[in-house]
Point group: C2
Chain length 562, copies 2
């Protein structure tokens, strides 16, 4: 038998080729082992393929405004890869890649996928990695990515190969800087790996380069653990699968602890500011007693008092059943979904910008009566946080509010009141948790590792076929990898506009939790049972080998109709 | 080929036997899969063996006092299992088992090990599980453990099969209640699964039963994730391996995040109040920039200011190297190790018991000057916590102090001062973490699953041979399971006395981190390199199959001289 060879042509014993690099780089056994995982490619990418155009596209909404904003790109077709021989010549390419925004497990594999495509199908190509996010493009800070370097990051978590950043390319000067960089490096293509904002930015860059007859094409890749960048053609953003599994492992452990100890309510805040997909997925994986979904809170126009009472009612009912413990999940962005909180914060920003906060509390008279009531209802620590913590623009920093602690205090106050009325007799002890950073940089699951590798490889194919302004799209994801479909979706077709400062601004609308969608419906059909009975499920640590190593998250499975 | 059969004689497809139980019990795929892991037994337990006595034993210290406290047990030999035929008759036994104190992964496997021993070697035996810890013994609350019930908890985390509790059997009335229970159930034996206190309690029960010529024998099992119950014969307590690996997975993820983002210092507090074994082990697994070991802090008599400066100096040096991020580990019990903090708290307890805290701060004059200085040095939030949070005895609740946040505030203040002096120019942003409950109830690693099963099986053998007052001891743990040694150690041989309220009280001394021991020496030899270079290692999630599924923690490996 000949030695095992990965789909990308490297022998899978590659580790031995770099013995001197590994010790100082500091790899655990599992990290080293994962270096040699060779993600399988969809069969379409393993053989000869060609890129075929679909019909012309429109926009997600407001097509006229999008057409005005993207005169060169608007209407261009999305594309699919189909078996066949492409007419593209075998020329080599110069490509740049950038990671934009927060980390998501799998980013390194996107880069590896691009790299391997270039090695295998466009020999002599060069791949540059821009350092520290879009700022690296603007400042022309980059590294040339080599076989040896790429190898050290295969199937590894984090973005530390080239790091990321949150800068945006927005002003005319910044666009100019980007132009200079891509000209200097003579780039045929630029790959932007990022979320909704970054992909919008990618489309603006594509439009800009095209409008100036520059050769540089721009392709986006869907990244965000929050899971709020998705559509029909892009069924999921990478990182969501891994992050939810890491959080669910930990939630499952806490559930087992809660059940064993029998005396704590665990309030667990999970990442996910704009949308509650993570909380929903973790609920489906673990069956908590309560999971608050921001989109539902907003749709029902719940108040803080409603939410507090909802939780408190369940705690009281559970006490009667003898359960003095429980597990409650909430999304990081919960309070952003509560209309009255938004209103209060807007009023506070106004007051703090123009007035002073007197100790006697006279300033509170400037609040509308509903806002004043809410303010008084909030725990003192939160009141102080609202008044003290400001961002550089003088705004209240909602992100800094520890929602899980706030809810604990409010539930505690409510329970104290009910105790006085004789309606509650238990002893309430709560533990706050925030699961955030732990999930963004874990080892990508096999799903994320394989999905990202396919996204990257597809990106290479899209660039080579001369396309620009597309987002790499890999579909049919609940089938075996072999059957995954591959293509590119016109970014303009995902766009809508928002009016800001009197101007139209293009945006890819965030995909919120759909209250009519299969994942939420599934949750809604089960949650009453979870509330009073303890249906906890402990998914355990992510496995890379063995019978469950390739299981896909519930959200994707349900959305794809399985 | 005949169907695969586990060492305990059950076919390993047992899952199929209980199809109706699983869905409502709520098992993830991995949970179900782990049900069928059949822990291998040491070869000594697989074949015929007999229990042989060693030489008479003494005590860890103060043998005369121990002899006085345990007149019936003192001096009895520890025992080993050796191949051979035992002379024990094949009679059936009635055994009770109790889980005592905080959860530790593997507890269910100890019970399964006892159960399987009884099934296989003492047919017709009965195993009772006392519910909710020692209170279950006193109140005679128990469940009879059956094949079907035990099956549902094999290799599962948590203590929820029978739950645990923190009560102690201390007063003459409580001992009387225990006597009544074991008489009522006609128990031949009682197994106490717990930490140092619980095993001391087990020995007192054994002495008490023996002194009254009762037949009930008592055997202890070493449980605690903190790793501070160990000695030559008991090289490790169960749960430590799993908990450290769970924490290290998470620390590794945070490290990758820190390195990718490049802007946060993560201060991670880890469980471990009395001893810092967990922090030390996690440091060896992950290579943080700083790990504070309580025992070293105490040995060097460091002050809060010393600790603050130590951290701040490193942050400043790292800034000069361009690293504006880092990862710092600290044990939950850190401040208990700082002599001046202990002194301050003692004085505060005294003042608060007898005086009032006036707003003007006149009360502070009652503090010694060093304590007053320290109090003023502490962040305001901590000052408030020290004055407000009391336990039922009116004492300051040191356990509630969020040490990681306290350190962040103190380092921040010190950096601000250095900024004013021009000695620091960076921007310090910190993220606090506490990894606690997440680690106590995870799925036991293969090591903990196998170790616990052997401990339980051995406990059955010790009971059947008529022994009492021993702690189940499984050794040679870095060899393959087949070669593990099995025996029982006289609990009195581990005892010392403490003088409390004018009386001698027996105690098993907690095993602290030995500053001359191999694990600390290894850490000390490496840490300078970790401080300024970034040698982060990410161990990743615990694997149950594959090449690294049986790796043992560093502490045990180094202590056993490998």
């Amino acid at each position: 038998m000949s030695p095992a060879v990965a789909t990308n042509g490297f022998p899978i014993t590659r580790r031995e080729e770099f013995p001197s690099v590994l010790p100082s780089a500091g790899y655990s056994e599992l990290q080293s082992y994962r270096l040699n995982h060779s993600p399988p490619l969809p069969s379409i990418l393993k053989n000869s393929f060609k890129v075929v155009d679909g019909p012309p596209t429109s926009a997600a909404a407001n097509p006229n405004e999008i057409a005005n904003l993207f005169p060169n790109l608007y209407g261009q077709p999305s594309v699919s890869l189909v078996p066949g021989h492409s007419e593209v010549k075998g020329q080599s390419l110069k490509i740049g890649v950038v990671l934009s925004g927060g980390q998501a497990p799998g980013g390194h594999n996107v880069i590896a996928g691009i790299f391997d495509y270039l090695q295998e199908r466009a020999k002599g190509s060069i791949l540059y990695g821009f350092k520290g996010g879009p700022a690296g493009i603007m400042k022309c800070k980059y590294a040339r990515l080599t076989t040896e370097l790429i190898y050290l990051y295969r199937n590894q978590g984090g973005f530390h190969m080239i790091c990321s950043g949150r800068d945006k390319i927005e002003t005319p000067e910044q666009f100019k800087q980007a132009e200079e960089t891509v000209k200097k490096l003579d780039l045929d293509g630029l790959v932007v790996i990022g979320g909704d904002d970054s992909n919008t930015n990618a489309c603006l860059l594509a439009e800009n380069f095209r409008s100036k007859n520059m050769k540089t094409q721009v392709i986006g890749c869907p990244k965000t653990i929050d899971g709020d960048l998705k559509c029909k053609e892009v069924p999921i953003s990478f990182g969501f699968d891994t992050a939810c599994k890491i959080y669910s492992e930990t939630i499952g452990n806490v559930m087992t602890d809660a059940r064993s100890t029998g005396k704590y309510y665990h309030f667990i805040r999970l990442m996910g500011r704009a949308a509650s997909h993570i909380t929903l997925e973790c609920a489906l994986q673990t069956h908590p007693n309560i999971a608050l979904i921001g989109e539902e809170v907003a749709a029902k126009k719940l108040t803080m008092k409603n939410v507090t009472n909802y939780i408190t009612d369940i705690i009281c009912k559970r006490m009667e059943l003898g359960f003095n413990y429980g597990v409650i999940l909430l999304p990081e962005g919960l309070i952003d979904f509560i209309p009255e909180v938004k209103q209060l914060i807007a009023e506070l920003n106004e007051i703090l910008a123009h007035g002073i906060i007197d100790k006697a509390g006279m300033w509170k008279r400037k609040l509308r009566s509903q806002s004043q009531e809410l303010f008084e209802f909030l725990p003192q620590a939160i009141q102080e946080q609202l008044l003290l913590e400001r961002d550089p623009h003088g705004n209240v920093q909602v992100a800094k509010i520890e929602t899980e602690k706030m809810l604990i205090e409010m539930v505690e106050a409510e329970l104290d009141q009910r105790k006085q009325n004789g309606a509650y007799k238990g002893k309430f002890q709560a533990q706050p948790h925030f699961f955030g950073y732990e999930g963004r940089c874990g080892f990508p699951t096999n799903f994320d590792a394989n999905y990202c590798y396919a996204l990257g490889y597809a990106t290479g194919a899209l660039l080579r076929s001369g396309k620009t302004g597309l987002i790499s799209s890999v579909g049919n994801l609940i089938a075996p990898v072999d059957e995954w479909t591959v293509g590119g979706t016109a970014l303009t077709s995902l766009m809508d506009v928002e009016r800001r400062h009197g101007k139209f601004k293009p945006v890819i609308k965030k995909a919120m939790v759909d209250l009519e969608g299969a994942p939420f419906m599934k949750f809604a059909s089960l949650r009453d049972d979870w509330t009073l009975k303890n249906r906890y499920i402990s998914p355990g640590p992510i496995q890379f080998v063995g019978p469950f190593a390739n299981k896909i998250n519930y959200t994707l499975t349900l959305e794809l109709g399985a």
